[in-house]
Amino acid sequence: MSPRRTEQGGRIDRARTIRFTFDGAAYSGHPGDTLASALLANGVSLFGRSFKYHRPRGVLAAGVDEPNALVTILRGEAREPNIPATMVEIHDGLVAESQNRFPSLSWDVSAVNQLAGPLISGGFYYKTFMGPIIGPLKGTRFWMVCERFIRRAAGLGRAGTVPDKARYERMNAFCDVLVVGAGPAGLTAAKAAAEKGARVILADLEPRLGGSANWSGEVIDGKPAAEWAAAAVNDLRAVDNVRLLPRTTVWGYYDGNTLAALERVSDHKQHPAKGEPRHRQWTIRAKTVVLATGALERPLVFPGNDRPGVMLAGAAERYANEFGVLPGQKVAVFTNNDSAYRAAHALKQAGAAIVAIIDVRADISADMLDFAGKAETEMLPGHAVVAAEGGRKLTGIKVQRFDAASGTVSGEPRSVAVDCLLMSGGWSPAIHLASQAGAKAEWNEALQAFLPPKPTQKWTGAGAFTGAFSTDEAIEQGHAAGLAACSAGRDHFDAPAIEAAPGAPGSEPVFEIQVTGKSFVDFQHDVTAEDVRLAHREGFVSVEHLKRYTTLGMATDQGKTSNVPGLAIMAAALGKAIPQVGTTRFRPPYSAVSIGSLAGERHGDLKPERLTPMHDWHIANGATMYSAGLWWRPQIYGHAGETVEQAYVRETKGTRGTAGIVDVSTLGKIAVQGPDAAELLDRVYTNMFSTLAVGKARYGLMLREDGLAFDDGTTWRLGEQDFLMTTTTANAGKVMQHLEYFLDVIWPELKVTITSVTDQWAGAAIGGPNARAILAACVEGTAVDNAALPFMGIVHGEIGGVPVMICRLSFSGEMAFEVYCGADWGTHVWETLMEVGKPFGLVPYGLEALGTMRIEKGHVTGAEIDGRTTARDLHLDWMLSKKKPFVGSAMMDREGLVAADRLQLVGIVSLDNRPLNGGAHIVEQLDEENPHGSIGHITACCYSPSLGKYIALALVEGGKARHGSRAFTSDPLRGRFGPVEIVSHHFFDPEGSRMHG
């Protein structure tokens, strides 16, 4: 038997043993244990070191509010820091480590920080940032020196450096009623709503649903509360319209009743089932929400209140009743309210000695005195704990007379030897989600707590969340909330009989025992009461500023235990009441959320890839694939031993020498159909399309509304009211949106439909001197000679038995044709062309050769239509119709867009026979050490096999006027500087004789 495990009781499975390690030491526990409960049961009292002072820390709480016992969980090489030990379910093979200590938890060198307390008080880094001046070190330089050390010392835990291989998923859910919290209120609400037929989701962050029923020791409906809760859970599990989500923290309440929840699906398993994610991130869209999130107990603020062995009273009660663990053998209780008496009673029943109950109140009700008597303890009303003593474990406390009205102590302190001190500073309803949903919390003087605001979204509250701390109130409210959530009227409700310990709600307004010593308000960020007062003395009056200056409530626990005490101390310093000081609004997340769960399946798995119909052929034939947006396109079809440049030079020469074929399926294709299709095209293109004959294609240019160039491509007229628009690969989506916008918003009267048909068609461009001969050898049903298929003509025929559309147009500058067929036949047609093309020397080519040939021809792409260039800049002004207005025509002649010094398209030739770089500047001065005076930049570059030179396209001030002049390319990042000549962008066959045959 473990030293602290009770003889009996608890909801753990004592028949089974689980083995795990903490800081390398082997421990055991039982199913149902948390890491905290199992370690406590093993007699461990020291769990970690604090953030700033590296003080030894134990366990303060038993749930999500735990600020001290943060551990790092190791899964293989992956490590996840800052997990409260209270939220870790143990399993065989669990490996946990303590944090913030070196070399060991029990002997930590940084504990010396405790001696430096005054130097590292609240806001110390702001002061460090400001100065002081010490010799050459002043201001920011001093900060920069300190920063290294502060950064090394700061932070909680250490993040892992290896990729997290765990699986994460996202999930969407819709329901009529989301019940958050599965205590007696939540269970009753879920049952009431489910019985009315509502679709219910019941989520609770604990593995065991039932909330306080699991540890209250109460009797509900004649059964121990835990059994009542288990039965209620079973009833809910049996019905189809309820989904139970244990281990699920609802952490965000957003607009439109959309809530975010994190389900820890398999953290508690040694081996997750196949396909089972570690975490599942839920987005829940609920028609209504029942918030039954309970309440969190507050610590009292007094010197040494952070010693290991000082624990929240409710937490100790939970350890005793739910986990069968005694946090100590000789226990004292320090409280400002009645609830802690129940904890004393529970620990007494579990086998601990209750040495004393120290209550700040002088007048204790007869009920509570009677109840205390059962714990066989010494009552010390009108007293306070003024010190907790010990190092790595509590050895004793000092108690003094205390006047709650004045907050002063008197008399001689008395020492009491204890190994555990339970404290209760009252209860704060867990109103975080309600606060996130909107509206400001309201202070309740009687309860000394912030209560939820009036709802601004569709939620109802129940139970301790509303400040109703008794179980019978929780069940009554839960039932009413469940009915209200599904808009059902009140019905007769046989509320179960409750047998509960006595006790009145509310607490004495005592938050701090103000005596000398380090009294912690925010345990996780090591913020003391004195830090709060220091902030006040330094002029901070706003609670928002206080928070940021002292970092109170800004740690991973988001101040669950510290916000109200901190506010109370600030209010006292300001001489104001708590509601006058106000409170900060809570923001998501309620508790820490794994980054992996936010990424979901997009983590290492789904980056959607767009594949062309011939993708597998490219792979099988040695293509190196290249991502172009989401598309994957062949870069080169490299031969063994070839460099990329050698490959594209070979492919370019092959195409210009005989014939080449390239996959152009990625080009955006939009079906533009309807009686007004031609009219739409006239409006969005700079040139005329209504005059285009059926069976012909035309190159078109679109401008943005601001007059800058937007996109280009050819549009084919397939029928009187039927056009096939092609766009650049990159801009397909944007052009589609552009057209949809104008049709939906500006010209709804136009009868035009537009449909993305990019994926309907496989496209292959075949070009080169032999291209026509190849087609002639395999196309059936149509001639492809100059008469039947002139430049920009379209014919329909068949290749390999498959219907195809062929348009004669050229991007490469060669006699070229684009062959389109149904995408599912794309590979068949491609393979047929390759087979037929073999004797004609047909070579497949990739993006590099495609780019090379277009640079040689001076054709523009997105590299030049970059959102800053105009049609004139790109020498496309011949396409600007003067006969009609079009999108952008009103703005394209603005002064700045027609200025003489605009960057314009030119060609660049490397004069030192070295490669040019995209993005490199063009400068006029020969000053390699200090390149300056950029007159433009290179947009695209290649080795031109046709010219035998390294060439580029560039945007250069003055454009054509510089043709024939010399300049320099300057690329300091890549160490390239050299002479270039500025020439026409038409490098190759400027007359187009090859294209026209």
């Binding site: 869209r285 399946e601 798995d605 959607p608 159909q673 068609w761």
Partner: protein, 200 residues
């Protein structure tokens, strides 16, 4: 030379379509995944005010009687149709030739016909966990009450546009762009591992 109807259409899923059980299937599979590979997928768009005539044309050509209202649909006898946007419909037939048939029935006064038989890939998910698996991907309420039999929805999963039709109480046909189909299929298989899945 072989005619087009004899040339097998190559599915974008061919390389990744592995028939048989996968994932956590030892205790039974939660979903079956398949690719129905219809012969025809056609998109119809009615001009404003012409929706009724479009629905009539759909009935004339396919025999499918669409209900009024956005998102309504019907699926029977190897054919299916559903509205996916105001005045816009997707019609599917296991046989090819549907676009040509509609081209005759739908005059320019009614609306337009766009053949997408090659452009969209239909992925079918069927089984008791179909709603669960799809909910991992789409922010849509897949419950029968919210998503009735035959109905269609337009939605998106990350960058993958999708139209989804409920073609059975626990069966959905997901239409995705052909170029995304393999990526989406892979993701769908991955998401189905947890419940065990069988590729038919």
């Amino acid at each position: 030379m072989a005619r087009s109807i004899e040339i097998e259409r190559l599915s974008p899923l061919a390389q990744v379509y592995r028939a048989g059980p996968h994932g956590n299937f030892e205790d039974g599979v939660g979903v079956a995944l398949s690719e129905p590979r219809p012969g025809s997928i056609v998109q119809l768009a009615a001009w404003p005010g012409e929706e009724r005539r479009m629905i009539d044309a759909i009935r004339t050509v396919t025999g499918l009687a669409l209900p009024d209202g956005a998102g309504g649909g019907v699926s029977e006898g190897g054919k299916a149709a559903f509205g996916f946007a105001p005045g816009k419909f997707t019609v599917v037939d296991e046989k090819d030739g549907l676009a040509a048939a509609f081209a005759k029935a739908i005059t320019p006064a009614i609306g337009t016909v766009t053949d997408l038989s090659h452009g969209r890939t239909v992925i079918r998910i069927e089984g008791p966990e179909a709603e669960w698996v799809l909910a991992k991907f789409f922010a849509i309420d897949f419950s029968l009450a919210a998503f009735p039999l035959g109905a269609g929805r337009s939605t998106t999963h990350h960058d993958v546009f999708a139209q989804i039709q409920r073609t059975g109480p626990d069966r959905f046909d997901v239409h995705v762009f052909r170029s995304f189909a393999r990526s989406f299929w892979t993701a769908l298989c991955h998401g189905s591992e947890e419940v065990g899945y069988e590729v038919a």
